[in-house]
């Protein structure tokens, strides 16, 4: 890709590559703005920028990531995903084949989650100004009743469920970036939570308190946020937290705790006391959340916001590293 040759070249690029691959009507119209039909009811809107190195990693790539990331944010907030915008920032020199592959991945993910790509933008920047390809997506969804009330509504006794093995995305990307030839190679969980959130809401109704895709900072970060907004202590059991063998092996070697590592298709949910069996049944009927597990409960607020019971011991504080974890043992 070369930049700076003006509109003709750019339009050609957009027409031939993007429109073609995404086969979107609104994009094909090439108008300044997408025209969308009126919706009767409240909307949810979210935006996110995706920067990942490498662009392709086991289990996904920046294309699927930028769709699932935004779609999942809509889904966990209780919305049915409708429309997506796509902004590409390309570094000069990015092979067109790479762009094509990413866009195909975008198309597949959009298709799978039923979201329509309705507007887009492309910029090419000089070498060094970007790392290959950055993508921003913005999503709009329709809030569907009953909308889960959110983490402030957590009550004592509420049960915490994680919808799959934790830490897969972060470990997969780290191993791919650092070219660690681990056996088995960790695979990202990058995927859609639309079906899982629908199932859950259908099955639980108002017994579902809140859902959150456990992206940066992993399940640990979500637990800390929920503790802060609810004013409760969240207590989890290490032995109940699913971890895949590849992630376990890699994190042991790297000295990382999978509970603090990013996921891209795994969420934490909180349900009313007694509702976890129903929730688990609903989740386990879907292949992507078949390894869901109840990992803990919300309890009265203590001095420690999040506790974890490891092995035979007593609950211990689960601290959230302020930055990259640094050893504390002196």
């Amino acid at each position: 890709l070369a930049h700076g040759e003006g509109g003709r070249m750019m339009r050609k690029l957009i027409r031939e590559t993007i429109v073609d691959i995404l086969s979107s009507e609104s994009l094909a119209e090439m108008d300044d703005a997408a025209r969308l039909p009126a919706i009767d009811g409240p909307l949810a809107m979210t935006t996110d920028s995706f920067v990942v190195s490498p662009l392709f990693f086991p289990g996904g790539d920046i294309g699927s990531l930028c769709v699932y990331g935004t779609v999942n944010d809509l889904a966990v907030s209780g919305a049915k995903p409708l429309y997506l915008t796509l902004s590409l920032i390309l570094e000069e020199g990015l092979p067109i084949a790479v762009l094509q592959e990413v866009l195909q991945s975008v198309a597949r993910a959009a298709n799978q989650t039923g979201i329509k790509i309705v507007a887009g933008d492309t910029k090419v920047v000089p070498r060094g100004a970007a790392d290959g390809l950055f993508i921003n997506t913005t999503g709009i969804g329709e809030l569907v009743d009953p909308v889960p009330p959110g983490p402030q509504a957590l009550c004592e006794g509420d049960e915490l469920i994680v919808t799959g093995p934790v830490g897969r995305h972060g470990i997969a990307v780290l191993c791919a970036r650092e070219e660690l030839a681990l056996q088995p190679a960790p695979t990202s969980d990058c995927g859609s939570l639309v079906a899982a959130t629908m199932q859950l809401r259908h099955r639980l109704g108002t017994r579902l308190r809140t859902m959150r895709d456990a992206t940066r900072g992993g399940v640990g970060a979500v637990l800390h946020e929920w503790s802060e907004s609810s004013g409760l202590t969240l207590a989890v059991n290490e032995k109940d937290i699913p971890v895949s063998p590849d992630v376990r092996g890699a994190s042991e070697l790297l000295g990382l705790d999978p509970i603090h590592i990013a996921n891209e298709g795994t969420m934490l949910i909180a349900v009313e006391s007694g509702a976890s069996e129903d929730a688990l049944e609903a989740l386990r009927s879907l292949p992507e959340t078949q390894y869901s597990a109840k990992i803990g409960t919300a309890i009265t607020r203590q001095a420690t916001p999040v506790t974890i019971t490891r092995m035979f011991g007593r609950p211990q504080p689960l601290d959230q590293p302020q930055g990259a974890p640094q050893p504390r043992i002196c």
């Binding site: 780290l174 970036r177 650092e178 070219e179 660690l180 030839a181 042991e252 070697l253 790297l254 000295g255 990382l256 203590q302 001095a303 420690t304 506790t307 035979f312 011991g313 007593r314 609950p315 211990q316 504080p317 601290d319 590293p321 302020q322 930055g323 974890p325 640094q326 050893p327 504390r328 043992i329 002196c330």
Partner: protein, 775 residues
């Protein structure tokens, strides 16, 4: 001959004694002297110290004041003795009176007395079947007994301690009131009729015996190999027969405490001698009224307590047993310990009653909860422990007593510095102890523990609350470490108080400056420890800091190396070894390293990725890595194990040393790579581990000395846990005997002393009107 007393002018004097003057029999001693000197008036404890009013004829008053200093109890430590003329109030006797202010409002000026182990005279009484205190476990006098651990408020007075619950019987009251009795005004006075009671329980909380029978029963249980949980002076202890391998193994298994050495209590100095080769300083420590655990060189006899001193080096191919070569010994703390030992008539393993990693249990219910799966028999008592305190641990290095754990008998430790601004220093993350200044006095509190558990964090918060109340510290500033992930840092930042962060190694050196009274000097600090957060965001630990109390300059450090796996690398020294060898000799040599269950080759690709490593200059990790190479230690069962083992194995008669060249620059780099190369060559040549270990220690000492020589005549201060290593410190003391060298002392040289250094730095910064972090 008849003495004619001429009527003389009556005069009065008011004297104020400050320092360590309460809880040691000061008032009774003064009252006796007053009696002898025929002066009238009173003596009382106050929040400043001890106040004395004397009046009488000029000659008598002069006799009294002249003799006063030489009549004070030996345990007293006088900071000042002021005397002023006072109004004559026409007293007709001399009396010990109640403190005038029982509800202290202001900052406390006088020192809080430390707990004292049972004295010889009380020991005689509890062993004498004819004495009314025979076997009474809470016997005490003005020379011994609990103090800090039972004090609720100051000044020191029975009504302000947890002894207030026990009203004196007639006999005890008579002792208390009689100037000729050695229990004259003994605030902790008690007997079996009126004082605290002892009883034994089984694991189901059923009371099974009381008094003598309880001691008898516990002794029998110990002889039968059972585990006894005993409520001692500052909290619970777990006790088993040190001669029984199986009992010790059960204790270790139940407590989940694998390799870590266990302390041994023996009945007397003469019973300690067979187990340790001690010098006079060690004997003095063992028998002093603080009664610490003394870590000394174990003799071959200590083998009867093999399981106490040894640890299994699980990584060595032959799974050989290596011995630490030291034993932690102490003498009976209380009459109860003494009578138990008298009955068992053999050494006892006596270890803190806590779950591994949690703070000491001290309350009955909590202890029975915590320890229910550990102890078989319980010895409880009903004297409330106001504040828990562990046993102190001391080691003698270069002829000086060095505290490895500052606690019972030594804490709170008076810090000889006046800091005007009320300040609390919170220490680090491990071995946390807090230091504080209330504007009148500064002190270092007792060991609390590592901040990894909920209970330890709670204990920390409780202790901050308790000590600020006890000392009257209001509107204080807080000083904490720079590490963002330390619990104490986060706690400090969540308080409304003004908070200053100081660098870890600067605080280590500042603690050493305080130890030696060098707080106004510029010094060269050698801060060698495990890990501490550096101002550049990397992990430091092998630092040379030219510093004052308020600022430092990093003039040198060990060559950096990569740690893969964060805290995991610290538990697994094989990772460090692989990193060091790779850096010194390359990938292929590192790939040849073999450990029992770990393959260095899995780590090598990771070491070449900066994103996966923590960069460190840690001397503690260097010891770990060398221990892994010399002793095949693959992983550690407890903190510091690798380094302790490396020290233990040294053959001090071995010749030679490894080279650590100093590379000039800003900062200078102490390069350990030649050391690793020489060590690997020795390894290949089959040089024995004890020789390699010694060459490493000597080489490091030579490098430190050489580094310091370039900064002559600055005083050198040692700081950081690495200097708990006796061989290293004694080599340095010898090599640097010609210059001022600040060796470790009673302020713990490891993280237990950090808070003292933090306090000094915060004060120095406040004086400069700066809340800036030093860089």
């Amino acid at each position: 001959m008849k003495t004619v007393t001429s009527p003389q002018l009556r005069v009065a004097k008011r004297l104020t004694l400050t320092g360590s003057v309460q809880g040691i029999g000061m008032r009774p001693a003064i009252a006796r002297l007053a009696e002898q000197s025929r002066v009238h008036g009173f003596v009382r404890n106050t929040c400043s110290g001890v106040e004395v009013h004397v009046e009488g004829d000029t000659e008598s008053v002069a006799r009294f004041t002249d003799a006063l200093r030489s009549h004070l109890p030996t345990a007293s430590e006088l900071d000042s003795l002021q005397q002023i003329a006072a109004e004559v109030e026409q007293f007709d006797s001399f009396a010990i009176i109640q403190p005038s202010e029982l509800n202290q409002q202001d900052s406390l000026t006088t020192r809080v007395p430390a707990d004292l182990v049972v004295c010889d005279r009380c020991r005689e009484e509890i062993r004498d079947a004819a004495n009314r205190r025979y076997d009474y476990p809470f016997t005490s006098c003005t020379d011994c007994g609990p103090r800090y651990s039972i004090i609720q408020r100051m000044p020191y007075e029975r009504s302000q301690t947890s002894m207030t619950e026990f009203a004196l019987c007639e006999t005890c009251q008579a002792e208390y009131a009689s100037a000729s009795d050695r229990r004259f005004h003994s605030q902790t006075n008690a007997c079996s009729k009126c004082g605290p009671q002892l009883w034994a329980c089984d694991a189901n909380h059923r009371t099974i015996a009381g008094g003598h029978d309880a001691i008898e029963l516990a002794a029998t249980a110990i002889r039968n190999g059972q585990i006894v949980a005993l409520r001692g002076l500052g909290g619970y202890q777990l006790i088993v027969d040190a001669g029984s391998q199986s009992a010790i193994e059960r204790l270790r298994r139940r407590k989940q405490r694998q390799g870590k050495p266990l302390a041994v209590m023996v009945g007397s100095l003469s019973k300690a001698e067979p187990f340790a080769t001690m010098n006079d300083v060690e004997r003095e420590q063992l028998t002093c009224s603080a009664g610490p655990i003394v870590v000394a060189a174990a003799t071959a006899n200590a083998r009867i307590c093999r399981a106490v001193t040894q640890f299994a080096s699980e990584s060595s191919a032959q799974s050989a047993i290596q011995e630490l070569g030291t034993i932690g010994l102490f003498l009976p703390t209380t009459p109860l310990h003494q009578r138990l030992l008298d009955r068992v008539d053999g050494p006892l393993v006596c270890t803190s009653g806590n779950l591994e990693g949690e703070p000491l249990a001290f309350e009955r219910d909590a202890a029975m909860d915590d320890l229910h799966s550990i102890a078989d028999v319980w010895l409880h008592h009903d004297r409330p422990i106001t504040r828990p305190i562990d046993d102190s641990v001391v080691r003698v290095i270069a002829g000086r007593a060095v505290s490895l754990r500052l606690a019972r008998g030594y804490a709170p430790l008076n810090l000889n510095i006046v800091i005007e601004r009320p300040t609390i220093a919170v220490g680090g993350h491990q071995k946390v102890a807090i230091a504080l200044s209330n504007g009148r006095q500064s002190l270092l509190g007792p060991h609390i523990g590592d901040m990894n558990t909920i209970a330890a964090r709670q204990r920390f918060a409780d202790q901050v609350h308790d000590l600020t109340e006890l000392y009257g510290v209001h509107d204080f500033d807080i000083v904490c470490d720079l590490h963002p992930d330390y619990f104490t840092t986060q706690w400090s930042q969540n308080q409304p108080n003004r908070c200053v962060q100081v660098q870890h190694h600067h605080a280590h050196i500042a603690a050493g400056m305080l130890q030696h009274g060098w707080q106004d000097q510029q010094v060269l600090g050698v801060a060698f420890d495990g890990t501490g957060y550096g101002t550049d965001g990397t992990i430091w630990g092998g630092e040379f800091l030219r510093c004052t109390a308020s600022s430092f300059e990093r003039v040198g450090h060990l060559r950096q190396f990569g740690l893969v796996g964060g805290d995991q690398a610290i538990r697994e020294p094989w990772r460090v070894a692989t990193s060091l060898v790779r850096d010194a000799l390359g990938d292929s040599q590192a790939a040849e390293l073999s450990f029992q269950s770990r393959d260095a080759r899995t780590l090598i690709p990771l070491l070449s990725r900066p994103a996966l490593s923590t960069v460190t200059t840690s001397a503690g990790r260097l010891f770990d890595g060398v221990a892994a190479l010399v002793l095949q230690i693959e992983s550690c069962q407890y903190e510091g194990q690798a380094a302790i083992s490396l020290e233990a194995v040294c053959d001090q008669s071995a010749l030679g040393h490894y080279r650590f060249p100093i590379i000039q620059g800003q900062p200078k780099i102490v390069d350990w790579r030649p050391m690793i190369r020489e060590l690997m060559q020795d390894r290949a040549d089959g040089v024995p581990p004890d020789v390699m270990a010694m060459r490493f220690h000597r080489g490091l000492a030579i490098a430190i000395t050489e580094f310091c020589d370039a900064y002559s005549p600055l005083s050198v201060v040692l700081g950081g846990g690495v200097f708990q290593n006796r061989i290293l410190v004694e080599l340095l003391a010898d090599q640097m005997r010609a210059r001022p060298l600040g060796l470790p002392g009673m302020i713990p040289v490891g993280d237990g002393g950090l808070a003292a250094g933090q306090l000094l730095i915060a004060d120095a910064l406040a004086r400069q009107g700066s809340s800036q972090l030093c860089a």
